[in-house]
């Protein structure tokens, strides 16, 4: 087997993965190759800089000052794991001669490659997102060529010219089909690799998703909400200036993950952080309606998405998203209203309209049930003003 240089891997797979273009899938990459590529990175400066500049351009719309990126073995391994996962849907990997044992070895290798340590380091989280931000938007164009005596299907490959020549005489017809994430990375073989990979890049999971993707595990991503700049970027990406149903898709997904979080035993501070973030998203809906002609009019967004006749089309988590503020008001009023909302009288008025309309459409039973679930995790204990605040002892100076 010919040994591939890291230069080729960067230019044919990693850079198109980040900046768009043709992502070439070749032979599966063993773990040893990744170790070798780590040493070869010094000889691929041109390709390395191109990848890092592309990543810089990707995150420039997220943060004001993108950190300096230098691709290292951590991201190389993630990319190699994704490459191997994509090889599992390569037509060569589905031939009869490829045994189950070999496919399992490839899956194991990919799992080992994407199984990098979880990180809370801001730069590394952003770097991983910049590398994998296109994960849910990878597509493959399949071509079906049919002629007078037969047909052939080419998955992500160009049909041989021999098959497409003499179109009229041989009655050649070409049909193109674009397949996406659900057929590439949500199939049974690749799904565990992608689930492992996505846990390593929580920022990507917060910003983007796909119906076939594994759900968000809030405990892995909640630390991002404590970074104000990233939390703000996530909030603004999740509430786009679009039709009502598109506006609530992202927030409802996060609220559905919050519902799952409440069924586990998360840290109380994490529950508070996520709840406050979802309340902030609800405030953004109010903010988007400040330009309404009648300040006291009912929200067209809530009327559309919570309408009784469209109850069957509500995405999961939507009810929790809108009921959360009312439930928090009964459990812990400090996070039931976003801070500073009273500074804008128009925004405060819209907030009251939203809460009243939500209570009317959802009913008290739903809000009370959510409040009961929240009470299991939030123990609201107002601080006794007589308590003295004690600071930890300063560390003893080194001898």
């Amino acid at each position: 087997m010919a040994r591939t240089h890291v230069r080729d891997f960067l230019s044919r797979f990693v850079r198109p993965l980040v900046a768009g273009g043709e992502v070439h899938i070749g032979s599966p990459i063993p773990a040893d190759d990744v170790d070798r590529w780590d040493h070869e990175l010094g000889d691929a400066t041109v390709e390395l800089v191109a990848v890092d500049e592309a990543r810089h351009a990707v995150v420039s719309t997220l943060v004001c000052r993108p950190p300096a990126f230098v691709l290292d073995v951590d991201e190389l391994a993630l990319a190699a794991g994704l490459h191997n996962a994509l090889f599992l849907v390569h037509p060569r990997a589905e031939e009869w001669s490829v045994s189950d044992r070999v496919r399992r070895e490839i899956i194991d290798t990919a799992l080992a490659q994407v199984g990098r340590p979880l990180t809370h380091n801001r730069t590394r989280v952003i770097a991983r997102h910049a590398l994998l931000h296109n994960l849910f938007h990878l597509t493959r164009r399949d071509t079906t060529v049919s002629w007078w005596t037969g047909r052939a299907r080419f998955q992500g490959q160009t049909p041989s010219r021999r098959l497409t020549s003499w179109k009229n005489l041989r009655r050649v017809r070409e049909e193109f089909t674009d397949v996406g994430f659900d057929e590439l990375l949500a199939v049974p073989d690749t799904a565990p690799v992608v689930a492992t990979l996505l846990r390593r890049t929580p920022l990507t999971q917060l910003l983007d998703s796909h119906p076939g993707a594994p759900p968000l595990h809030w405990e892995d991503a909640v630390f991002l909400l404590r970074d104000a700049e990233l939390a703000r970027a996530v909030a603004y990406r999740l509430v786009p200036d679009a039709a009502p149903r598109d506006q609530i898709t992202g927030p409802a997904r996060l609220a559905a993950a919050f519902e799952q979080m409440l069924e586990r035993t998360p840290d109380e501070a994490d529950v508070r952080a996520v709840a406050a973030f979802l309340v902030h998203l609800a405030a953004l809906f109010c903010f988007g309606e400040l330009g309404l002609r009648e300040p006291g009019a009912k929200s067209p967004l809530i009327s559309t998405v919570l309408a009784a006749e469209a109850a069957g089309q509500r995405p999961r988590g939507l009810v929790t998203l809108f009921a959360l503020s009312g439930a928090l008001a009964a459990v812990d009023p400090r996070i039931a209203t976003p801070p500073g909302i009273a500074a804008l009288p128009a925004l405060a008025a819209r907030w009251l309209v939203h809460r009243a309309q939500t209570a009317e459409l959802l009913g008290d039973a739903v809000i009370d049930a959510l409040a009961a679930r929240l009470r299991r995790h939030l123990r609201f204990a107002p601080r006794d003003p007589s308590d003295a605040v004690t600071l930890p002892d300063p560390a003893a100076p080194a001898a």
Partner: protein, 508 residues
């Protein structure tokens, strides 16, 4: 028999044909209420009609006499479960009158929600239904099968019920007296109409004959009466009518029915108006009499029904008056010194030979003074019209405006002093045309389209360089498309084992 409490968010149920509504409450397509007697069902209709409209339930409402396996008989009312709010109201009223309520779709109906289980109940052990039963209800401790014996249409039930005397019902307040019907015997009608007209009561009247209900009716006897609709009937007149034989007073109940004053139908007729056919009007009399009049009732104003006295022997012919042709009184238009205060200067007519002076003045004037001015060069001179006061150009004959577009020299006026409209019509002046009177020669006209902006006209053509705007926005990312390269037949030859095999359970 066991019922399970439905949990919040539960979507799968054992009971067939039920589903959670948007509030999460278990609901089928119908609600079924069982009452031991017909009086219970009527009481439920009475209560429900006083709180909400029965019309929304009537499309699928059935009243059935049913028999249980033990031979006891019950009245079963089936209503459509339009929403859980309507079902909540039905359940509350049903329990109030001693009935029980269930929900379901076809054969199996399960107990509707109550305080103990706010999301409803689900019957967990639904077995095969005996062939002799039509439907089955599942309660807390029992499951009861029913066999249908006969239906009682709601319309028939409505007309079988007698209207009841209300204590003190004859005393109506002003709001109730706003719209009333009077049924007046034929012999009294003319006097009643005259009486109402004299008392300035707004009313409309029509003659109606109730539809014959039997072939043995005496058709030779006229059973018709005058129906008068009165508005804001004074209380004293109402008391008079109630005490007068031959006059009956009715209150409208919805658009298609009226009930005698002092009486009330057990079921609120306004809430079930769809029971009455659209082309009928039902009048409920005391003593179980119901007249069906052709509807919608067409009435005429009583002001047109009062008696008319004719004096045909003294005709009043119209007297003709003659007229003559219009005499010609034309007068020639002239300019004369104006009598009133001086008007605002809006234009100036500059002789052609003074064009060079105008150019020099234009160079000297500030841009603000030039803005809004328009100019046209004609054979009678250069006409400059300003948007504001034009006395900044001290050239030519200054003109002021009589009416929009009609210009006369400053200090002059047109005699005879006719109105501006008449003058414009005589000159053929209209919108889009400027008419100018001069001290010498005849007036002339010029179209508005001939004018151009003085600012633009005073400038020579300049060459301007086009520059391009730099866009600092991030470029949209291109689509990432997977291309499967040809990897050869031996691409997997010698692929090494994974470094950690514990990540997945061993393969088959």
């Amino acid at each position: 028999m066991a019922l399970e409490h439905v949990a919040q968010g539960q979507t799968r149920f054992f009971t067939p044909g039920v589903a959670p509504d948007p509030r999460g409450i278990l609901l089928g397509r119908y609600c079924v209420m069982t009452f031991p007697t017909l009086e219970g069902a009527v009481s439920w209709f009475r209560l429900y009609s006083s709180e909400a409209a029965l019309d929304e339930l009537l499309s699928n409402l059935t009243i059935t006499k049913c028999k249980t396996a033990l031979g006891s008989r019950e009245i079963v009312v089936q209503i459509p479960a339009v929403s859980s709010y309507a079902a909540d109201r039905a359940a509350r009223l049903c329990r109030l009158v001693g009935g029980a309520i269930y929900t379901g779709t076809a054969k199996h109906f399960v107990k509707y929600r109550d305080d103990r289980s706010p999301y409803g109940y689900d019957a967990v052990d639904i077995g095969t239904m005996p062939a002799t039963t039509d439907f089955m209800v599942h309660g807390d401790e029992f499951a009861q099968g029913y066999l249908r014996e006969g239906d009682l249409p709601f319309g028939r039930l409505l007309f079988r019920l007698s209207i009841r005397k209300l204590p003190g019902g004859e005393h109506l307040d002003a709001e109730d007296r706003a719209d009333l019907f009077l049924a007046v015997a034929r012999g009294l009608s003319e006097g009643i109409i005259r009486y109402l007209w004299r008392n300035r009561v707004e009313a409309q009247a029509g003659l109606f004959t109730p539809g014959a209900s039997s072939a043995f009716d005496d058709h030779s006897r006229d059973r018709g009466y005058m129906l008068i609709r009165v508005r804001a009937l004074p209380e004293r007149i109402l008391a008079l009518f109630l005490g007068t034989p031959g006059i009956d007073v009715f209150r409208p109940a919805g658009a298609s029915a009226a009930v005698a004053v002092g009486y009330q139908h057990p079921i609120d007729l306004a809430s079930c108006s769809s029971v009455f056919p659209g082309d009928t009007f039902h009048v409920f009399w005391p003593g179980d009499r119901v007249d069906v009049l052709p509807g919608p009732i067409a009435l005429s104003d009583i002001a047109d029904l009062t008696r008319v006295d004719l004096e045909l022997d003294r005709p009043k012919d119209p007297r003709p008056h003659g007229g003559g042709p219009i005499e010609s009184i034309g007068v020639e238009l002239k300019l004369a010194a104006a009598m009133g205060p001086p008007r605002r200067v809006v234009a100036t007519l500059i002789a052609l030979e003074h064009g060079s002076r105008l150019k020099r003045i234009l160079f000297a004037l500030p841009p603000v003074s030039l803005r809004g001015h328009r100019v046209a060069v004609t054979e009678r001179g250069i006409l400059v019209i300003g948007s504001e006061n034009l006395d900044v150009i001290p050239l030519g004959q200054l003109l002021c405006e009589l009416t929009p577009g009609l210009l006369v020299p400053l200090g002059m006026d047109v005699v005879p002093r006719v109105s501006a409209e008449v003058l414009a019509r005589a000159l053929g002046h209209q919108a889009g045309v400027v008419t100018v009177f001069t001290t010498v020669g005849r007036p002339f006209q010029i179209g508005e389209g001939s004018f151009s902006s003085l600012e633009r006209r005073s400038l020579a053509k300049l060459e301007v360089q086009q520059v391009f705007v730099e866009d600092f926005g991030a470029e949209p990312a291109a689509e990432a498309q997977v291309i499967n390269d040809a990897v050869g037949r031996f691409a997997l030859w010698g692929f090494p084992d994974a470094p950690d095999r514990k990540l997945l359970p061993p393969g088959k």
